[in-house]
Symmetry: C2
Subunit: 282 residues, 2 copies
DNA sequence: TGGCGCGCTTGACTTACGTCAAGGACCGGC
DNA sequence: GCCGGTCCTTGACGTAAGTCAAGCGCGCCA
């Protein structure tokens, strides 16, 4: 397994194999100790002191500012707050909190959940580096809670900044609208998933989506490390952890994917993809 | 049954019992012929020639412009296009159409649907007078199709107008953000419904929501006329038409609601409400 | 490095809801 | 007022996925 190192990307803050974007010796140590396999056999280049700007950030092409011209970008950067890293399981915000702003994942990953009156939760989304979340809060209060799935960090775009920026930067407003529409579209396609697809198809769709998003971020699209538990996956897909477990077993038997704990090796992406769209649901 | 007539509201374009907002002799005749029970035993006051302004519209307190000051409202009105009425079953827009703008229901009702690659549809929402839809289109193309469920009409807020107005009217932008966030929140609470609630709970939630929204619009909250088919309801709730039918029967047996064709009489709202939140799902 | 607990797996059994099929009611058009 | 089609209802039956329970093992912490 390649220990071929994309040093320049690392310098800019991101290892293409891991999910580290805000580099510091502490974080890397911490991260490495969590990672099962060691793609990062790094020597130097770690304790670069830095306050990342968006232009430096390796996620720039994926993240919100990608719609901005260099001039706009400069204005934009001054409005973005970098938040301290968070430990796994910590809440970034909770249901009912006053809307503070939007968040972009800088490193790690998050889940958002809503809770029913009886206390039961529903996972509504997983967010990877470069992805924006918090749109549900625009109605004054967040309707979801956001939880770090691993050691993670975010950039914050505070509400006050948004109000100022959208007037000055029409491109930013349009990009925000676009992202919000995409949030709606993905939620709605989940509605279709939940009501018209079999458990098998849902899991296949989940893996395909993750694979594509990882690849987009420069990670491997075939060897993934899941940051969420079986329970989270099951909940997100409207299933139980037992069912997910059995399905993973079936994927293994059919040589579509090899799942071992939280490591997933996708063996036959095409077949998985076919399964998603394949021959109707229930 | 009262033929007590809210004439002033009718003058302004809305009968509180029916769903007529854009009054013309033609429309009323057309509508009456579709309605099973005749609340509207109207004599005069029908063929009022009018181009409704938002200030005249009886839906003003519910619709988008409610966030606007009188001055703002005047600017806003000039940008809104009134579309000709549409027959049942007609598309306002279809999946993939270039985003033209947002729509507010003026009379009648609409459903939005997405379709899977295999051609199967999923109903993602129902929209009543005063409700805004089309947000999914902000990402350049509509990801849903919008279909009139009965003889209906809409007001259009074209994209070009939105771009101009949001700069001039910050309150409008905030209201749009709020509505968009609400769309996200309702979609996500549907995710919870679909994955964690029994068929019975889903249908109860559907009826409770409809009842509240009808009441908000000045219609009866206890005697509803559904504009959507059993198939649509079932599809929206992730069930089959057969199951919905059986559930309606059960509601009748338990004296919670009386359902006859498309007429629903809610007998015990509280009990229905309890059923929604009651003692966990599956 | 070793111990403990949570998260995962596996099997046996249950059930809510879907599927299939047939008949009935309503509605709109001629 | 009759006829055709669509929408709705009802019953019999099947099954995908849930529930319950028990054991295993990874990974986290001391």
């Amino acid at each position: 397994m390649a220990n071929h190192l994309p040093v320049d990307r690392l310098r800019r803050g991101l290892c293409t194999r891991c999910r580290i974007n805000d580099i510091s010796v502490y974080n890397v140590r911490k991260y490495l100790s969590n990672v099962g396999f060691l793609y990062v056999a790094v020597s130097s280049g770690f304790n670069i002191p830095m306050k990342l700007t968006c232009r430096d950030c390796s996620l720039a092409e994926l993240c919100l500012p990608r719609a901005l011209s260099p001039d706009d970008m400069e204005q934009f950067e001054t409005m973005v707050d970098q938040r301290p890293a968070m430990a796994r399981g910590n809440f970034l915000y909770q249901t009912g909190d006053v809307f503070g702003g939007l968040y972009a994942v800088k490193s790690g990953s998050f889940k958002t959940t809503i809770s029913a009156s009886d206390g039961e939760d529903q996972v509504t989304g997983f967010y990877l580096p470069g992805e924006l979340f918090g749109f549900d809060g625009f109605d004054d209060h967040y309707s979801c809670s956001a939880v770090a799935l691993e050691h993670s960090s975010v950039c914050e775009l505070p509400l006050s900044s948004i109000d100022q920026l959208v007037v000055k930067l029409p491109n930013l407003r349009r990009e925000l609208d676009r992202l919000m529409a995409r949030e709606i579209t993905t939620d709605q396609s989940m509605l279709l998933q939940l009501s018209r697809r079999t458990a098998e198809q849902r899991l296949a769709a989940f893996l395909v989506s993750l694979s594509l998003r990882f690849r987009q971020r420069g990670f491997s699209g075939t060897e993934l490390r899941l940051s969420m538990s079986r329970y989270d996956i099951a909940n997100y897909l409207g299933l139980t952890a037992e069912t997910v477990s059995r399905l993973f077993k079936r994927l293994k038997e059919h040589h579509l994917a090899l799942v071992n704990g939280r490591t997933v090796i996708i063996q036959d992406f095409e077949a998985l993809h076919r399964q998603v769209h394949g021959s109707g649901g229930r």
